[in-house]
């Protein structure tokens, strides 16, 4: 039997109250993490899907995201704009974001850790397989990222227009 939605919300809130003070903390399966996309090449607006490359981790093997459970769409864009945009190549325009339920990361044996560094709600997705054979490592990363990009539970969101870094006079 499924919980009524009000009860599910109450339980989620209780879970958060209990754990919100702990940082870093591992996010539960029902939470949502978004991956901000600063390049048009990382998603298909035709298919409304993030591409596999949008989830490939950097050498540090910590994939950056933002914890966005229950936030309004406009609030998510505001957080991304306020905290992540900089006047440097690659960080001056936001084109889209991919919302990933933490459950999807867990299915790939990854974990989402909210660390609030370098800004509040920042989350690192960790646990990427690291075989010493670099070919095998890349194979496994591609496999995981392909699963994420093709999952119907992972949603692409595109703002009404690209969000561009405001110049000092504009802000």
């Amino acid at each position: 039997m499924r919980c009524p939605s009000w009860l599910a919300k109450l339980l989620r809130r209780m879970w958060r109250v209990e754990t919100v003070s702990q940082v870093p903390r591992e996010l539960a399966p029902f939470e949502v993490v978004t991956r901000i996309l600063y390049s048009k090449t990382q998603f298909s607006s035709q298919r409304m899907r993030p591409k596999r490359s949008a989830f490939m981790p950097p050498p540090s093997m910590k994939l950056s995201g933002i914890h966005v459970t229950d936030l309004l769409d406009s609030t998510i864009w505001e957080i991304a704009e306020k905290n992540t945009m900089r006047s440097e190549p690659g960080r001056d325009t936001i084109y889209a974001r991919a919302d990933v339920p933490v459950e999807q990361f867990l299915q790939q044996k990854l974990r989402a850790i909210r660390d609030d560094q370098p800004f509040e709600r920042h989350t690192s997705v960790v646990g990427w397989p690291a075989p010493t054979d670099m070919n095998e490592r890349k194979e496994r990363w591609i496999e995981i990222c392909l699963e994420l990009s093709e999952s119907p539970d992972v949603k692409l969101a595109i703002p009404p227009g690209p969000i561009r870094l405001k110049t000092k006079t504009e802000s």
């Binding site: 899907r49 591409k51 690659g90 960080r91 392909l146 699963e147």
Partner: protein, 174 residues
């Protein structure tokens, strides 16, 4: 995305001829095959798919040409990987579906084919011609590493062929 018909054959009229035969008749036959191939490539319908993929590759190279282009510290697209990806696309059978293009944070070129729910193939090409790939077919997955030299690696061609055939069959059944 169109689905391929001739993908099951790694060689054929519409893939570049790979014969090393040197007799007069073999060379004449190769020339005829090349003429037919160029004729097919010159047709609007066939050329459009290849050109679209090459244009997307070019656009991706433009975007991914600087350090940190993805906002997360990615390396620029490797120029050799770009050239090999170009050759890879030109070597695809002309009736094969063409991939979406992007770049990986390590400078490799990423080629992605999506055929519907849990039917997808992704290939990453590096500057040495190493092709790392993963393929989803329903609940089975396949991954591996191959090398691109004078043609599309067999296991990648087979995976693409199977996905295209299954998708075509599903569409016909509908």
């Amino acid at each position: 995305m169109t689905t391929g018909l001739a993908l099951g054959r790694p060689t054929g009229l519409i893939t570049p001829n790979r014969s090393t035969a040197r007799s007069e008749s073999a060379e004449r036959l190769s020339a005829i095959i090349e003429q037919i191939r160029m004729h097919l490539l010159a047709s609007y319908a066939v050329r459009r798919g290849v050109e679209r993929a090459l244009d997307e590759l070019e656009a991706t190279r433009g975007v991914a040409s600087v350090e940190g282009w993805d906002g997360y510290g990615a390396k620029p697209m490797n120029p050799e990987a770009y050239l090999l990806a170009r050759r890879f696309l030109e070597s695809l059978p002309t009736t094969a579906p063409h991939p979406e293009i992007s770049a990986d944070p390590d400078g490799d070129v990423a080629l992605d084919w999506s055929f519907g729910p849990r039917k997808a193939l992704s290939v990453s090409i590096n500057e040495k011609g190493r092709c790392v790939f993963a393929c989803m077919r329903g609940y089975s997955t396949l991954r591996g590493t191959e090398w691109f030299d004078d043609g599309i690696p067999g296991s990648i061609a087979n995976a693409l062929s199977q996905l295209a055939r299954e998708t075509a069959a599903t569409n016909v059944a509908r």
